[in-house]
């Protein structure tokens, strides 16, 4: 293994990491929002939307991200919708993750006993207040382990971005191997950089999990 070569490649990997992080975390954020909106809509039983969101969840949970990205990047332009690789990556990740997050939030919501809602109602809170001050904070705190698992899963899924020619970590490694055939060096760096990306999330995650459960959260 040639350390000198690895050092030479380092800037390329850092650049790729930044791009992966950017696209990945925007995707995670979108996933969080989509998931929350879906879960709440389904939980409240809002008529048409509820159906629609359930279909969305099943659709995206049961197809690979690779296929979803192919569809968005290569099929949509045929009907005149053209999106950049970065937007495509974040959106794809957001849609996939939204389906998973929705399930996480939904089981969190279902785990809050109805009588909590009633005790809030008996204090004169209206539906919105009950949701914002009582149900949502508890849902998020019981959902933390699931949310974290989803975040790590989603950040790992960024490794398929290379198929839509997004210059992420995977793309960079493959590219370098193709050009210079320094396979071991390139793949070692790849592993190291994925660890740089994911280990802090895992560590921060388990710390947060310990802190946030049942502690003050939100308002």
């Amino acid at each position: 293994m040639n350390v000198e070569v690895m050092r030479e490649y380092l800037p390329l990997y850092w650049r790729a990491l930044l791009l992966t992080l950017k696209v990945g975390w925007i995707g995670v954020l979108l996933a969080f929002l989509f998931g929350l909106i879906c879960a709440v809509t389904i939980h409240l039983g809002i008529p048409v939307l509820r159906r629609l969101f359930k279909i969305y969840i099943e659709l995206f949970r049961n197809t690979p991200l690779l296929v979803q990205l192919f569809f968005m990047y290569f099929a949509l332009p045929k009907i005149g919708i053209r999106i950049s690789p970065e937007v495509c990556g974040s959106l794809g990740l957001g849609l996939l993750g939204g389906a998973y997050m929705a399930e996480t939030f939904r089981s969190g919501l279902e785990g809050i006993p109805a009588i909590q809602e009633e005790s809030a109602a008996s204090l004169g809170m209206n539906r919105l207040q009950i949701f914002c001050y009582v149900i949502l904070p508890q849902t998020i705190s019981v959902s933390i382990p699931g949310i974290l698992a989803n975040v790590i899963f989603l950040l790992k899924e960024t490794s398929v971005f290379s198929v839509i020619s997004l210059m992420d970590l995977m793309f960079t490694a493959k590219d370098l191997i193709g050009m210079y055939a320094k396979t071991i060096e390139c793949l070692t760096l790849l592993v190291i950089f994925y660890l740089i990306m994911l280990l802090p999330v895992s560590i921060l995650g388990s710390w947060l999990e310990r802190r946030v459960r049942y502690a003050e959260f939100g308002d």
Binding site: I115, Q116, S122, L123, G124, M125, N126, Q138, A215, G218
Partner: protein, 249 residues
Amino acid sequence: MNQELLEIRHLHKSYGEHTIIKDLNLTVHKGEVIVVIGPSGCGKSTLLRCINALEPIQDGQICIGGESIHKDDKNISEKRQKIGMVFQSYELFPHKTILDNITLAPVKVQKRKRAEAEKEAIELLGKVGLSGRKDDYPRQLSGGQKQRVAIVRALCMHPEILLLDEITAALDPEMVREVLEVVLDLAKNGSTMIIVTHEMAFAKAIADRVIFLDQGEIVEESTNPKRFFENPETDRAKKFLDNFQYEKN
């Protein structure tokens, strides 16, 4: 003691085919303490839940301060502020401190100043012997302490009537007393309450009126609790009290 606060007329409540409360009439006056007793499953909780409009009713009317209250009312959350409720299982909010549990509704619902609500909350906590626990979370408290907080939380909204549903049923025996003493104190200070309980000595001591409920009907009603517990008029009440005595010993 004469002003009518709560008026229930011809209340009918059912779950599907199953009738739980049939044609129940009850008037509660300001300052009155009503104790409701009866066998498990007879509809005591359901009655309280109907009064607080947590359950839709199938027939009849419930009026609080002359105003009818129903689950589907548009301003139901406003009307519910007049009614405080304490549950058997406390139902504090686990993600909030004791102080925030108490002040959440006064601040968010009644739009009171936080400082003022907190001042009152701390005062009330002091009265129930918990002034030192305001920054704790519910999980750090014993059952009896949680239940006292739940009472304070209801009181801080200044309700006109308090509904207590078997609030000591989940407590270890040594904690029952500390909670019942708080309730006795409230009664002494003129609070209007409907209390569902299985603590017969407490019921006898606190009740202005005892109501014996069986299969969703008021079978016996007495403004003389002592006589009711020692010598009920109806056979059903007698049987219930006898059984109860037997189970206790």
